[in-house]
C-alpha cells in the first residue's frame, strides 16, 4: 500500500478525539475526525481505510450510523468503541456490520491490533476489487464471438459441444479458446470460470 492510511474517528468527546488523533498519528496514520454520526454522514463518503466509532453519541447513535452507512453502500471497516461493553451490545454491533469491538478504556496495543485486522481486511477487499476491475477491463477486449464461446465453455460445454452449438469446426473453437486465454492473461479453463464469476456475479 502506498501513502498514509487514513483512520476516521467519530466520537463526541473532545478529549477522546484529540488523544486518539495524537496516538494514531504517532503510529503513522493520517486522521479525520467527526463529532457525531450525523456529521459524518452529512459529510458524504469520506476516503478512509478504517472507521473508529463510539456507540453512544448525541443524535444518531453509533449502531444506527453504522447501519445507514452500510446501507449507503460503503464498506470501510468499522471498529466500534463502547464504554459499557456488554455481550449483547457487542453482538449487535457485529451483526450491524462492525468488524471489531473495543471496550473503553483500551490500551494502545489492543486498539492497534484491531486496526491492523481492519486494515488487512480493507487491503484484501481492495485487492479483490482491483482484480475484478482488471478482469472486467480484459473481458471487454474480447470480441462478441469470443465472449459467446467463453460463456459456453464456462457453462461446461466441451470444445466439440461448442463447435456443434455454433456450427463451426472444433479447430476454430480451439483457436478462439487459445486467443481468449491469452487476452485474459490466464492459463486454464478453471481460471476462466473464476474470472467470469468476478465479472458477472449477478
Amino acid at each position: 500500500m502506498s501513502g498514509l492510511r487514513t483512520i476516521i474517528i467519530i466520537d463526541d468527546d473532545d478529549a477522546v478525539r484529540d488523544s486518539l488523533s495524537i496516538l494514531l498519528e504517532a503510529h503513522g496514520f493520517s486522521i479525520q475526525t467527526f463529532v457525531s454520526g450525523d456529521a459524518f454522514l452529512q459529510a458524504g463518503h469520506s476516503h478512509g481505510d478504517c472507521i473508529l466509532m463510539d456507540v453512544r453519541m448525541p443524535g444518531r447513535d453509533g449502531l444506527t450510523t453504522l447501519k445507514e452507512f452500510r446501507a449507503s453502500g460503503c464498506n470501510i471497516p468499522v471498529i466500534v468503541m463502547s464504554g459499557h461493553a456488554d455481550v449483547a451490545m457487542a453482538v449487535t454491533a457485529l451483526k450491524s456490520g462492525a468488524i471489531d469491538f473495543v471496550e473503553k478504556p483500551f490500551d494502545a496495543g489492543e486498539l492497534l491490533s484491531a486496526i491492523g485486522r481492519a486494515l488487512a481486511e480493507r487491503t484484501a477487499y481492495l485487492d479483490a476489487q482491483n482484480a475484478r476491475l482488471e478482469a472486467e477491463r480484459n473481458f471487454a477486449r474480447l470480441t462478441p464471438r469470443e465472449k459467446e464461446i467463453a460463456s459456453l465453455l464456462v457453462s461446461g460445454e466441451p470444445n466439440k459441444g461448442v463447435a456443434r452449438a455454433l456450427d463451426i469446426s472444433v479447430r476454430t473453437v480451439e483457436t478462439h479458446r487459445a486467443n481468449i486465454l491469452s487476452k485474459l492473461d490466464i492459463r486454464s479453463l478453471s481460471d476462466l470460470v473464476r474470472l467470469m464469476m468476478d465479472v458477472a456475479p449477478s
Partner: protein, 365 residues
C-alpha cells in the same frame, strides 16, 4: 371537705406529674405520676429543693431565675410552659414539657408545675427523622443505580483519553530521535487534565451517594444545579435535549442541605427530560432568580407533554407513577425534602407546552 378529697383523687390519679413548690423553691407536693416520672418517692422529694429534679445548667441557675422573677415580675416560664429537661433519680436526663402557674390563696402561696414526660414523643420524632433521612438516602442510591451504567461510560471517556495521551507519549519517545520537550509536556498536561476530569466525576458521585445526616449550610445554588445536571445529563446524551441554566447575576447563597437539594434537582431534571421523550424541540431550563427577599426562586421547566390535570393530585403520592418503569417516589421525596427546608414544590403549565416545577430556598438560617 368532699371537694378537697375529690381534688386529692384527681391529683393522685392524673397521668401528668404535678409539683407544688413554695417561694423558696422547696417541694410541697409531689403526686404519684411524679414518682413514676422522676423515680423519687413523695417521701424523698417533699421538702427538698426543686433543683433535685433538674440537670445542669438549670440546677445551678434555678434559684437565680426564681429571684429574678420575684424581683422583676419578668416571667421566663411562668404562665407559659415550654420544653425543658428533667433529671431522674437514676441520673438520666429526659425531655419534658413543663408549664408553671403561680398561686396565692391566703397564707398558701407558691408555684404549681405540670410535667409531661416527652421521652416517647422525642424518640418517636427522632425515629421518624432517621427514617425520613434513610428514605431520602435510599432514593438517592436508587437514582444513582439508574444513572450508574451511564456514568460508568462517562467515566471511561477521560480514562480512554488519558491512556491514549500516555501511550502516544511512549510511542513518540520510542520512535523519534529528538522529541521536543514541549511536545511531551503538552501530552502530559493533557493526560493530567483528563485524570482530574475523572476524579471530579467520581467525587460528585461519591458525594451524592454518601450516607449523610441532614447537614445544612450555605451553598451556591448555581453550582448545585450544575452538579446535578452533570449527573443526569449522560443519561440523555442520545437525545437532542437542550439543557440550560439561566441564573441571575450575583445570586445570594442559599441555606440548605446541599446534597438533598441536588437530589431534588436530579429528580426534576430526570422527570422533565423523560417527559420530552420523542418531542422536538426539547428544552430543559433551570432558572434561578432572587424572588422574594431572603429567598432564591428555582424553576425547572421542560417542553414535554405536560401533566394531565387528573394526575396532579396523585403527583406527590409515592408509588403512583405515570412512567412504565417509574418508582413514583421521585416527586414525593423531592417534596418532603423541600418541606424539611420550609418550602414546597409548586407546579404550573409551561407555555406553549410542558411543565414548570418551582420552589423557593431560604438565603438565611
Amino acid at each position: 371537705m368532699a371537694q378537697s378529697s375529690a381534688l386529692d383523687a384527681v391529683v393522685s390519679t392524673m397521668v401528668d406529674g404535678l409539683i407544688v413548690i413554695d417561694r423558696n423553691g422547696h417541694i410541697k407536693l409531689f403526686n404519684p405520676a411524679c414518682e413514676t416520672i422522676f423515680g423519687y418517692s413523695a417521701e424523698e422529694a417533699l421538702g427538698q429543693p426543686v433543683e433535685l429534679l433538674m440537670p445542669e445548667p438549670y440546677r445551678s441557675e434555678h434559684s437565680s431565675y426564681l429571684h429574678h422573677y420575684q424581683r422583676t415580675g419578668d416571667a421566663q416560664i411562668i404562665g407559659i410552659g415550654r420544653e425543658v429537661e428533667g433529671r431522674r433519680k437514676s441520673g438520666d436526663v429526659f425531655p419534658m414539657h413543663l408549664s408553671v402557674g403561680e398561686f396565692q390563696e391566703g397564707d398558701l402561696e407558691g408555684y404549681v408545675g405540670v410535667i409531661h414526660d416527652l421521652t416517647e414523643e422525642v424518640a418517636q420524632r427522632q425515629r421518624l427523622d432517621d427514617l425520613r433521612e434513610s428514605h431520602i438516602h435510599m432514593s438517592r442510591l436508587a437514582s444513582m443505580n439508574q444513572l450508574g451504567t451511564v456514568i460508568a461510560h462517562e467515566l471511561n471517556q477521560p480514562l480512554t483519553a488519558l491512556t491514549n495521551y500516555l501511550s502516544a507519549g511512549t510511542t513518540v519517545v520510542q520512535t523519534q530521535a529528538d522529541v521536543p520537550k514541549d511536545k511531551l509536556v503538552q501530552l502530559m498536561e493533557r493526560a493530567t487534565e483528563q485524570a482530574r476530569r475523572a476524579a471530579d466525576m467520581l467525587s460528585r458521585m461519591r458525594g451524592f451517594v454518601e450516607q449523610g445526616k441532614t447537614c445544612k449550610g450555605y451553598h451556591d445554588i448555581e453550582q448545585l444545579a450544575r452538579d446535578a445536571l452533570a449527573l443526569v445529563r449522560p443519561s440523555f446524551r442520545n437525545t437532542s435535549i437542550n439543557f440550560e441554566i439561566e441564573a441571575e447575576d450575583a445570586l445570594p447563597e442559599v441555606y440548605c442541605d446541599g446534597i438533598q437539594i441536588q437530589q431534588v434537582f436530579v429528580n426534576l431534571i430526570r422527570n422533565g427530560s423523560e417527559a420530552m421523550d420523542g418531542i422536538d424541540p426539547a428544552r430543559l431550563t433551570i432558572m434561578l432568580d432572587s424572588g422574594q427577599s431572603d429567598a432564591v426562586r428555582v424553576h425547572v421547566a421542560d417542553t414535554g407533554k405536560g401533566l394531565v390535570a387528573d394526575n396532579i393530585e396523585t403527583l406527590f403520592t409515592p408509588f403512583m407513577s405515570e412512567k412504565p418503569d417509574g418508582m413514583g417516589v421521585g416527586l414525593s421525596i423531592s417534596n418532603s425534602i423541600l418541606q424539611a427546608h420550609g418550602t414546597q414544590l409548586s407546579i404550573r403549565e409551561n407555555l406553549p407546552r410542558g411543565t414548570v416545577f418551582s420552589f423557593d430556598l431560604p438565603t438565611k438560617d
